[in-house]
Amino acid sequence: MHLVLTMRVALFVTCLADLYRPQAGFAAVRLLESAGCRVEAPVQTCCGQPAYNNGDFSNARAIARQVIEAFGGYRHVVVPSGSCAGMLKVHYPRLFAEDPRWCERARDLSGRTHELLSFLHDVLEHRDFGACFSGCVAYHDSCSSLREIGVQRQARELLSRVTGLRLAELKDSEVCCGFGGTFCVKYPELSARMVDDKARSVQATGADALLAGDLGCLLNIAGRLRRIDSKVRVYHAAEVLAGMADGPGIGDRRHP
């Protein structure tokens, strides 16, 4: 009986979580499983944004076709990142605008793709995961989560159910942190200025931790916070929701 009700969900873990912060991926798995999903993670690499956003549309298409193939059989594809979810959801259909067969398949994947926090909140309507986190946290809206996927309220509502957690709002929460994929290495001075502004507004909240739903922003902001010796810890929002934020944050000293 239980098996019938279980929803089969594929996790598109994203290359940055895969390589840098596996724990964010495991936190996503735990959240999905506790909401009653059966999670699978087909072999995957990247959504193709580096090629796409650098104008290399032919490699972007090749990578997109690979993702469309690998994630073909699942009712839902869940992505713990607004920008990678946006790539699958919004940009894949555009990439194949002149190729009806693949465009159809891209649209089909688009309809099945969800950003993690909005999937938990809006689709599964599972909002309380029983986690505890003692302290004040600031949530950073990634540009893609906010403007491409429309995740804003959902993240805050999920976090507000975490026992012991107080939520602080960042000033200029709609402003980009300066990551921008390869932008941060192509225009380091501009990126540095933007992430410095963001790190300052994080510190101004007095929060103990900074959370976001996108590892690009998190690595960028954590990198800056570590450089200026800030005490603010940095986690993927899923880690806090899954009760997995008791260890070192992103870029923190590891326990011996």
């Binding site: 596996p22 991926g25 403007r147 709609e174 380091p188 933007m194």
Partner: protein, 472 residues
Amino acid sequence: MRSTAHSFRNNVHAALRDQGLQRALHRVSGGFADKRRAAVEALPEFEALRAAARAIKDHTLAHLDEYLECFETQVVAGGGTVHWAASAAAARRIVIDLCRQSGARRVTKGKTMVGEEIAINRALAEAGFEPVETDLGEYIVQLAGELPSHIIAPAIHKTRADIADLFRAHHGRQRELDSARAIVDEARDVMRERFLSADVGITGANFLVADSGSVVLVTNEGNGDLTATLPQRHIVLAGIEKVVPTLEDAGILLRLLARSATGQAFTAYTTVFTGPRRADDRDGPAAFDVVLVDNGRSAMLGSEYREMLRCIRCGACLNHCPVYGAVCGHAYGWVYPGPMGSVLTPLMLGLREAGDLPNASTLCGRCEAVCPVSIPLPTLLRRLRGRQHAEGQAPAASRRVLALWAALARRPRLYGFVMGLGVRLLAALAGRRGRLRRVPGAAGWTASRDLPAPAGQTFQAAWRRQRADHAR
């Protein structure tokens, strides 16, 4: 003014270190954005107006030839003249000929971005005329010999002290200039005499109304009206995309324009000029000339950048752009800065000149979100990057890295193996510190931030191991 868009990186470097500029930027940062937000929140139908505005623009662009011809017919019927300028050079020639016909010496100017685009001031001066900017910001920029740094706030990069210094140097008056009021009073004083002695007045146009042959102009200083009505000839410089079918259409766009630009419900002056002075008019110019400037716009119309022609030059994308906010307008190197400039400049001057502009954006999407005519600016920027890539213009080093990465990303097994080694190596280098202060080949990142160390094992490797253990 010659473009420095090709040295964008150096311009950025200098702008970030220019303390005067950073002080000026800091004071205004957020001001326009906050005012726009308040204005939009106070107007429940804002989104509906946005949709209507976009539809008006799209419709007009789809029938641009008809509406332009209709506009010309109406202008001629009202006693005015329409001149068609295919290029910047043609537009300059037309304006100079008209000034000569009027026997002009002094030419007053209202604010016109297309005037900057065709560099009309320099052409006028070289032809022996004295061009005088009458918008306060433009006047300041003219005294300084600079380009506007913002399309609606041209002197936004100047502090009050900078302006006082300029006035002292150019006006030769002994006057206290210690307050904004004193500065404005002096400008008004100087300007009054120029208005009264001008032979030709040149203005831009916010909208051209096809069915009446009217020109709609908005200002906050009233300088446009004095420029247009006092001299014997009024020349209007306008891009061909400025035409709308009716005055009602212009009305819809006007409701969006000031709110998007400065957060005002309406600008202080909104004037509709229709033809030269008529027999029973008490004032107005004897001659009314409209110069319709193409300068690359027809080519845009027939391309995948057509949506850019919806732009109404409100400046909202500049005011909400984090890159513009960090370096201000001059860093972009030419007339149009910010996201709209990063699309327009490469289209008008070429990607070889302005290749950095479409790349120097995180594609954060805030510009598109606030654009009153919903121009998909990030999509257009990405398209320009696509053209650059297709034409082999991207820097060789970044092309090689990207090609290598793509080759891996298309081979999942190999990717897993290579990346697995990479993360193990980085984790080992970082040790317990959990971060790296320097990474060979990643100086761009580590100049200002640490590189958080990866965990040492990829998610996929750990996941498969876990599943295998489960199965056992």
